[in-house]
Symmetry: C2
Subunit: 579 residues, 2 copies
């Protein structure tokens, strides 16, 4: 027997559908009509023309229609709203409402996020926070559940998530699957606890995204056979083609940290394009403000000679089909009226954006209600630092410490043996990673070569993936000053010199995000960057972003953790107490 609740739901939806049918037939006015529109038809791969009628948030017909609201779209092109197939929202260092306001002017209406950063800080509460912080925004935020928290056992993160810990989220309507399975080595080697996560996502009939740079041959077969359906780590065409031929969907990833579009442009042809979509992975404030979002990839692809219809489909329809968002990614009856109106397909300036038929951008972002988040989650997010006040001596060591050698423009490093003391002339700076989640008091010390600082210190609570505090300094006193200020600010980036704070960006939400608008955050961040460069930071390095990768133990070769300096290729600690 059906429940009364189900019958009432069917009844209510039917009433709404009957109105949609009447509007589609033209016997009742539409809520909105985009008159004389030229639109991208993702099914027939051509531009089509007609009035686009919208009712109850859906496109209901193309043809000749009248509506209570009408917009003359003559001379414009209507595209399906753009989709970012893989992003970590936290990388924009603003809360999701601020992110939404920043990407709507670029025609984005849907993003698929992996809340991996905040989960490393707050565990399942971090996932819950992001689900609540994205509910009801004027963009749709879908989720892939973090697969690798922490990224390796070397990480002292805020949480350890097994398949059991994330299972309850699969029932959430916004959750689409398991996010990038970075531990491809664990998969290939048959690590049961890793493979279980894939199996659990499959058991819920969900997707599993991949992350396997350069993986090839039988090892790639093993990784795909395990159930990994996509990859966004293709940096060369051959590897992308091998993955595509073996059935993986290719997310052409081009964001702030990694740029793969140019190498993968040859995929954007009729032969291959249906298996491709666009992703940014990470977008930092200045990049978002200066270049844009998915529109930036479309624009660059078209300017490089890609058929604009293919570029727009890759930016919308293909991602929607991969993620089984079957009412998204097309301008057609029954699809959500997520519409991006652009001037033309070459310049691709977004003029208007409709989300579920509601005008959300027309040169300015329309005001929207901020999502409600449980007070307990807000409190936890704002109180994620458990570090006592530090002093110079906390950064001192009597023993030699490992030296991490930075390389301009790269996040891989060299292992440069050990050193006994800071040597500014030789660009050997003291570095530290301070555990901040549990109050263990762990501080891993080492040296960093190649950062360039001549005086003062820099500290940031963005340090992948566990987001402890990483600091580097020309002297230990400024390091203590900078770290203490990060802790007092409940997170963020600090530049200190001579015992004073000379620039800072507060990131009080989990130590990762600001609640200010993106523009304000960008101003502070750029000022902090300028301050860091003024203290001597090597111009070939982003003073905060590059630093934030120095504790990420999945990348070769030397890294600094809360336990000291580790050679990630041998797994041996060069200095420090070790795990």
């Amino acid at each position: 027997m059906l429940t009364r609740e189900f019958e009432e739901k069917i009844d209510g939806k039917t009433t709404k559908k009957l109105r949609i049918i009447r509007v589609a037939r033209g016997i009742e006015p539409a809520d909105l009509v985009l008159k004389n529109a030229v639109y991208v038809n993702v099914f027939s791969n051509e531009l089509c023309k007609g009035d686009i009628a919208v009712a109850e948030g859906l496109v209901v017909g193309m043809g000749s229609y009248e509506g209570t609201e009408e917009y003359d779209a003559s001379g414009k092109i209507v595209c399906p709203g753009f989709v970012d197939a893989h992003i970590h929202l936290e990388s924009a260092v603003v809360t999701p409402d601020r992110f939404a306001a920043a990407v709507l002017p670029h025609g984005t209406t849907t993003v698929i996020t992996d809340p991996h950063e905040i989960a490393n800080v707050m565990g399942d509460d971090g996932i819950e926070y992001m689900l609540q912080a994205t509910a009801g925004l004027p963009i749709d935020v879908h989720f892939m559940l973090p697969s690798c928290v922490p990224s390796t056992p070397e990480d002292e993160s805020g949480a350890v998530l097994s398949y059991r810990d994330i299972d309850r989220f699969y029932g959430h309507p916004k959750v689409l699957g398991l996010a990038e399975m970075m531990d491809y080595v664990g998969v290939i080697n048959g690590d049961r606890s890793v493979v279980e996560k894939i199996i659990a996502s499959q058991a819920h009939h969900k997707k599993i995204d991949g992350h396997a740079p350069g993986l090839s041959g039988n090892e790639l077969n093993a990784y795909i056979s395990a159930g990994v359906y996509s990859d966004h780590e293709c940096y060369d065409l051959d590897n992308a083609l091998e993955k595509l031929r073996k059935g993986q969907f290719i997310m052409i990833r081009d964001g702030t940290a990694a740029h793969n579009l140019d190498a993968l442009l040859p995929l954007l042809t009729p032969q291959y394009c249906s298996r491709c979509m666009f992703a940014t992975d990470d977008k930092h404030p200045s990049d978002l403000l200066e270049n844009g979002h998915i529109d930036y990839l479309v624009r660059r692809a078209v300017k490089a000679g890609v058929d604009p219809i293919i570029a727009v489909k890759t930016a919308s329809h293909h991602a929607a089909r991969y993620f089984l968002l079957n009412n998204k990614g097309a301008v057609a009856p029954g699809y959500l009226a997520d519409l991006t109106v652009v001037d033309n397909l070459y310049d691709l300036n977004t003029e208007r954006v409709y989300k579920k038929g509601r005008l959300v951008y027309d040169g300015e972002v329309k005001p929207f209600k901020k999502p409600q988040i449980w007070e307990s989650l807000i409190a936890r997010a704002h109180s994620s630092f458990f570090v006592k006040t530090l002093s110079e001596s906390d950064f001192s060591s009597d023993s030699p410490l490992g030296v991490v050698g930075m390389i301009n423009g790269e996040i891989v490093t060299e292992s440069l043996g050990t050193a006994n003391k800071t040597d500014i002339e030789a660009d050997i700076l003291k570095a530290a990673v301070i555990e901040r989640h549990r109050g263990t008091g762990h501080i891993g010390l080492g040296f960093l070569k190649g950062y360039g600082l001549k005086k003062g210190a820099v500290a940031t609570s963005i340090s992948h993936d566990s987001h402890n505090i990483i600091a580097v300094g020309a002297n230990e006193n400024d390091m203590a000053t900078a770290v203490n200020r990060v802790v007092r600010n409940a997170g963020g980036i600090v530049v200190a010199e001579g015992g004073k704070i000379i620039a800072e960006l507060e990131l009080p939400v989990a130590g990762l995000m600001s609640e200010l608008p993106l523009e304000a955050v960008n101003t502070k961040l750029e000022a902090a960057k300028a301050a860091a460069y003024s203290l001597g930071v090597n111009r070939g390095i982003d003073p905060f972003m590059t630093l934030s990768f120095m504790s990420l133990t999945v990348i070769p070769k030397a890294r600094i953790t809360t336990f000291g300096v580790i050679d990630t290729e041998t797994g041996e600690y060069v200095s420090g107490i070790g795990r």
Copy 2:
């Protein structure tokens, strides 16, 4: 908290997956390797070469592999198993196990059936019967739930199915959605009970197939907006293109009763093909035996100049993606090892078929276990006739009766007024439809012109869609003989003359299907056809199939039902008691 059952399921599946990973890596032998295979790569749209390794029923890798079983596929082409996107299995007039044995030699590994015929006889028990009768077969049979039982209120069918009656089936893993929504008029006119069925399928996140011959413009927009995602009734290119442009998937239907492939060949190009798949709708025994199944469509498409890769994808991958059968329709790691090995892509002779890695055909169909069906369902299926013994007088009438005019090669008819009596010279024959589901005793009488019979009578329990018994005769005595024999046989086709049965095919399963092999059924059916022709039936008509449509009230113009002769365009009864 997770249930112990769930954790055990994850554990068991993980163990299996770990083996798959080892085989894919090449460190453990595969269950099966197709050595030196050339296979259709549906992702890169090309032929690729390599060993295809299979473990645990899945393809796990292409490359260089060894297996406990090996087959040298040199010189052959490996395709994904073929998929029929829409069929009514009952039309083959054999039970599903017999159907499976008949289509495996044609490379079919998956069909999506609408058990509409048996549901008109047995209601939800008919759906349940087919679910059980297809479980574990060497082809996968997926289901779309019948949307229009009965097809119109004029039909005295065995059941009336509302959305509530079919709801419980949506939870069944083989059920993919709601079958062809034939009542497009009801949808467009906003008939709540019709639209509810669509809404309920959507509420279960399932597909809804369409059936809307010639529908166009705003009415088509309304139908699609209501939530109908496909159409298999396109008989001309323009209508197909309009539907495709508006987002419907196009099932290119070419079976026994309707032939649309030639008209729709222009869809099989890179521009449109990803939105197209193949379907047969109805396949009768002789057509299956003489021409084949989906392979017949591929072969014809290729011979007509379609790119063979496109033809094979349309026959496999596209249907799999539409129905969200995400591990079907490709030769790639993680996909089911449903593989059809053919000699070449032009002649397309199937040499071997693997289902989930098991050899099921290699020139002969390998024996397989018949599905277990509840005894109560078998009993009900074998006892679906409730008709008392009839005599000549039951077919007599004192009043004039409506005349249904048959047209050679068509199933539409003319309404030819009334007649008083049978006139063999003028080819006016007595016709009757005998209610058989409830024992109401209703017998609708009329005349049929154009059938051609000179003596004797024909009766069949296949009469769309309600499958009452339809009979036509040169005299009422032979009509009674034929109908009584159909009832005694618990269903089937009978040709009688001079009070004797001169040919018959028993269809004791719901009056629709035989339990004999297809070849045996075909022999009997062809003999019965020959007998009918020998009695004078017009050669431009199929004596049973064409007759079976004479009571289908959704088709213009005159039809005969259990209530008499109706003009389906006006809804008025020409003769008889009326509804």
